[in-house]
């Protein structure tokens, strides 16, 4: 088992989730203005030359092009990257295939949020297993200081992130900011 700095991980998860939420986050303006990047360097010693925008408008554009406009290249939702369900009774054509929203991971995450008495932002109701929310939940677990629950959650819910980072590196249309960010996320949950 990897020894983790759990308080540090908790803070970093919350920090990394912010640009993945994009305009949904109340701290998105910090990302666009560069404050978020400065804090990443100051508090976590993580730097990358592409983790900045020339202007706030460029930040909005980067998020839209990478995650929101039709045909966007990346999907930060776990279900899409995993078989839809492990339930052998499911008989839909896609039941055991990848590429679909609302899979087991989404249902599990929705239940975990419910168990913890937490509300999923309505804008992400379709994707309780969005990477930003999973980082949030990981941060919450890390705050409790229980390494086993942290490792379990990473193994079961964040094992797809390295592939996402690889896709960000190879696919066209991914903004340099996110091409730089996703390997950092992948390293964080390794």
């Amino acid at each position: 088992m990897r020894r983790r700095d759990l308080p540090g991980l908790a803070a970093l998860c919350g920090h990394l989730a912010i640009p993945l939420y994009g305009p949904l986050s109340p701290w998105w303006h910090d990302v666009k203005a560069g404050t978020w990047t400065e804090e990443l360097a100051e508090h976590f010693r993580i730097t990358h030359r592409d983790l900045k925008f020339a202007s706030p408008e460029e930040g909005d554009q980067a998020f839209l092009e990478t995650f929101a406009v039709p045909g966007h290249p990346l999907t930060c939702i776990e279900s899409v990257h995993k078989p839809w369900t492990a339930d052998p009774q499911a008989t839909l054509a896609f039941a055991h295939e990848k590429g679909w929203l609302g899979g087991d991971s989404a249902s599990h995450m929705r239940d975990l949020f419910g168990l913890a008495g937490l509300a999923i932002p309505p804008e992400l109701a379709h994707a309780p297993d969005h990477l930003a929310l999973e980082l949030e939940l990981l941060g919450l677990l890390a705050e409790q200081g229980d390494p086993e629950s942290v490792d379990l959650f990473i193994a079961q819910h964040l094992d797809w992130v390295p592939n996402l980072a690889a896709a960000a590196a190879s696919k066209g249309g991914v903004a340099p900011f996110y091409r730089a960010l996703l390997p950092i996320v992948a390293e964080t949950v390794a």
Partner: protein, 727 residues
């Protein structure tokens, strides 16, 4: 590392995190075991995989769709669903769905909030109304009851009568033709027929499960089925006899059948005397339409035509020439409307109206209306339709489902300025996509309401996303038949994407902004309750059951009550004569014919596959995989003609017309008339947002010019000649 407080969008506290860490359900595997043990709920609703809207039961487990089955009480599904229903279930969880309103910015789209989208659309609609009047607005859709009610009421409130469907690329000619004789479009009692002629109709691939089952029942009972079709379709494979007719000449075949029935006194003279007007005029018109006349036109031996007429007569009245959907007399040829009239006439000569195994004339249960005192209805528009349907000097005999392709011509001429299109892809599904695109580009405002970013949505100024059919509730609708059904779509699962809205919500939002909100001062529940009132069914019962069979006394066999002026079958039409067309159907050759001197020249025909609903389902990977597994996107070409051109099965061929040149692989077969090449409809998508379908196969519409049939204005989808050569 310096200290930093964890920032979180979700509200957290120490207690919640501790609960989570301690819970056994944190382990996905343990959670999955518990989830698997949960019960499966059955929620009756309706399919949306094609235009039939069969009754469907959604099986739901833990709030997720688990499977779909046919609703046993719906007269179109009768407990069974086709492949498309199972495939369409995938739309719900498709990550490429439209999830939030989009606004055009140059060649791309940007998400915007719903309220902003509705504000901007309303402002632009008002600007068009102020400058150009309500005649410049239109609404187009593949009709679903919610669109029929809300879309029509909204357009009416704004003063526009131009409400259109997809039918001008489907069955407009059939509707116009049968209406002339019967004032309605009949069905066929296939299950009880002793003799069935399928004239281009293909129940084995143009599927409504109840129709397919009815054909199977007829076959099991020993009925003779004859398929008259340039192509040996899946229905032809079930038939006792395939008559490979030259495409576009079914009218000649029907006129010759009528000739034999009359000449040999084989028709039902008593039925005709009592129930038919215009017989003498019709008989005179076919007096020279001998089988020998028809044989060189149809490429069917005269003796075959004569025998067919005699066999039909021997089986009358329990026999039928299927009135079809699109078949030989849908929106295909310049003579399709008259082909439908002739089909109706031959059926009438056989006296099969209302008889077991003959033509059927059923009606849907009458729904109630909203209380007009509480919910005022908008006044009827006073301006003329913009699409020429029913308009003197344009297409006076065109049915009210309209002419979208002609409307785009009007848009290009600056006479139409704004429109709303819902669940309808005319850019891809009508001939000549450039014509359709140019028309849409000329609009000041195009709003598309969709679940996916189709070729038509790509032309929009605004795209408004709807929840899929499994997530929304709709207006109750009726399915006519001897055992009519009423059915309701209910949300089988919660709405997945917060920023999607149902069509009624969209229209109500727009109506309020447009100053016509008073016509929408009711909820969907109130509307549905009013519709159910005369039937004595409560809304809660309707939602619980999904589909309900309405007890209707079985009609005694015999002539139905027709709503024609005479109350009888009218073989001669004063309306047609007044509009300058033949009072009775007569022979009109196809507008285009392959060049007999050119070995590369063919008529391009098309048809449905049982596992696709045109382009609507081509992006569903599991349905598209069927196509791939069977190489089913290939162009069919007659074996002898292919040999002469050096084309072997599986070869790539180039298909050319004046509009396009495209490559596709060939299916070399003896199952096709030599004059024709055949493409399955539904492929050739170019929307990059339809990732599965994009670039797969080719479409007949790329080769076919924009054109309008003179009588009913339809798109003449098969009036196209192409050259085919080895690529």
């Amino acid at each position: 590392m310096k200290e930093i407080t964890r920032r979180s969008l979700i509200k957290t506290g120490l207690t919640t995190g501790a609960l989570l860490a301690a819970s056994p359900l944190l382990d996905l595997k343990r959670w999955a075991e518990a989830a698997a043990a949960e019960p499966v709920q059955q929620i009756p609703s309706m399919c949306n995989g094609c235009s039939s809207h069969c009754g469907l039961v959604a099986h739901v487990k833990n709030g997720r769709l688990w499977k779909v089955t046919g609703h046993p009480d719906h007269n179109r599904s009768k407990g069974l669903l086709c492949a498309r229903a199972h495939g369409a279930a995938a739309w719900l969880y498709d990550p490429d769905r439209l999830t939030q309103p989009m606004k055009r910015e140059g060649d791309t789209f940007r998400p915007i909030p719903y309220e902003q989208a509705l504000d901007e659309i309303a402002a632009k609609l008002k600007a068009v109304l102020d400058k150009h009047g309500p005649g410049a607005l239109f609404f187009g859709h593949n009709p679903r009851e919610t669109g029929v009610f809300y879309g029509s009421r909204f357009m009416t409130a704004l003063g526009s009568p131009t409400i259109m469907t997809h039918n001008a690329s489907c069955n407009t000619s059939l509707t116009a033709g049968f209406s002339a004789l019967f004032a309605t479009t009949p069905g066929a009692d296939l299950a009880k027929a002793k003799y069935i002629v399928l004239m281009g109709r293909n129940p084995a691939e143009g599927i409504r499960t109840a129709h397919s089952n009815a054909l199977a029942k007829a076959l099991e009972a020993g009925a003779k089925v004859v398929a008259i079709d340039p192509r040996h379709s899946a229905s032809g494979a079930l038939a006792a006899e395939w008559i490979p007719i030259r495409p576009g000449t079914d009218l000649a075949m029907l006129l010759a059948l009528a000739y034999v029935l009359i000449k040999e006194n084989l028709y039902d003279a008593k039925f005709v005397a009592e129930n038919v007007t215009g017989f003498d005029k019709f008989a005179a018109a076919v007096a020279d339409k001998t089988p020998e006349w028809a044989a060189p036109i149809t490429d069917v031996p005269a003796e075959t035509i004569r025998r067919l007429a005699r066999e039909l007569a021997a089986a009358k009245p329990n026999c039928v020439i299927d009135p079809s959907w699109k078949g030989a007399f849908g929106a295909n040829y310049i003579n399709s409307t008259d082909t439908a009239r002739a089909c109706g006439a031959v059926n009438a000569l056989l006296g099969n109206l209302g008889q077991p195994g003959g033509l059927t004339f059923s009606s849907a249960p009458a729904f109630g209306n909203l209380d007009a005192a509480k919910h005022p209805e908008p006044k009827k528009p006073t301006v003329a339709r913009a699409d020429g349907a029913g308009i003197d000097g344009e297409f006076p005999l065109a049915p009210t489902n309209g002419l979208p392709h002609y409307l785009m011509q009007k848009a290009k001429e600056g006479k139409v300025k704004a429109g709303i299109i819902r669940h309808h892809n005319p850019v891809r599904n009508f001939p000549d996509p450039k014509h359709m695109q140019d028309g849409m580009k000329a609009l000041d405002l195009l709003v598309v309401v969709e679940t996916h970013l189709t070729e038509t949505a790509m032309m929009a100024h605004y795209i408004l996303p709807e929840p899929t059919f499994l997530e929304r509730e709709e207006v109750i609708e009726a399915s006519p038949g001897s055992k009519p059904t009423i059915a309701m779509r209910v949300a089988a699962v919660p709405k997945l994407h917060a920023e999607t809205r149902t069509f009624d919500e969209i229209i109500v939002g727009l109506a309020k902004r447009m100053g016509v909100g008073q016509y929408f001062n009711f909820t969907l529940d109130e509307l549905n309750t009013a519709r159910l009132a005369p039937l004595g069914i409560s809304l809660s019962d309707m939602k619980k059951k999904g589909s309900i069979t309405i007890d209707t006394p079985a009609a005694a066999p015999g002539m139905p009550k027709l709503k024609t002026a005479s109350g009888k079958v009218e073989l001669a039409s004063a309306k047609y004569a007044k509009a300058g067309f033949g009072e009775v159907p007569g022979w009109t050759p196809p507008k285009t014919m392959p060049d007999p001197k050119n070995p590369k020249s063919f008529r391009l025909i098309h048809g449905k596959q049982g596992y696709h609903s045109h382009t609507a389902t081509a992006n569903i990977p599991y349905l598209l995989q069927i196509t791939k597994d069977y190489d089913a996107e290939r162009l069919w070409i007659n074996a002898a003609r292919a040999k002469a051109l050096g084309i072997a099965d599986g070869d790539w061929v180039m298909v050319k017309s004046k509009l396009a040149a495209k490559k596709v692989r060939a299916k070399v077969t003896e199952r096709l008339h030599p004059d024709a090449v055949y493409l399955p409809a539904g492929y050739g998508s170019w929307s990059p947002y339809l990732k599965q379908a994009n670039g797969f196969g080719i479409s007949m519409n790329d080769f076919t010019a924009y054109q309008t049939e003179p009588i009913s204005g339809h798109a003449m989808m098969m009036e196209v000649v192409v050259e085919v050569e080895k690529a």
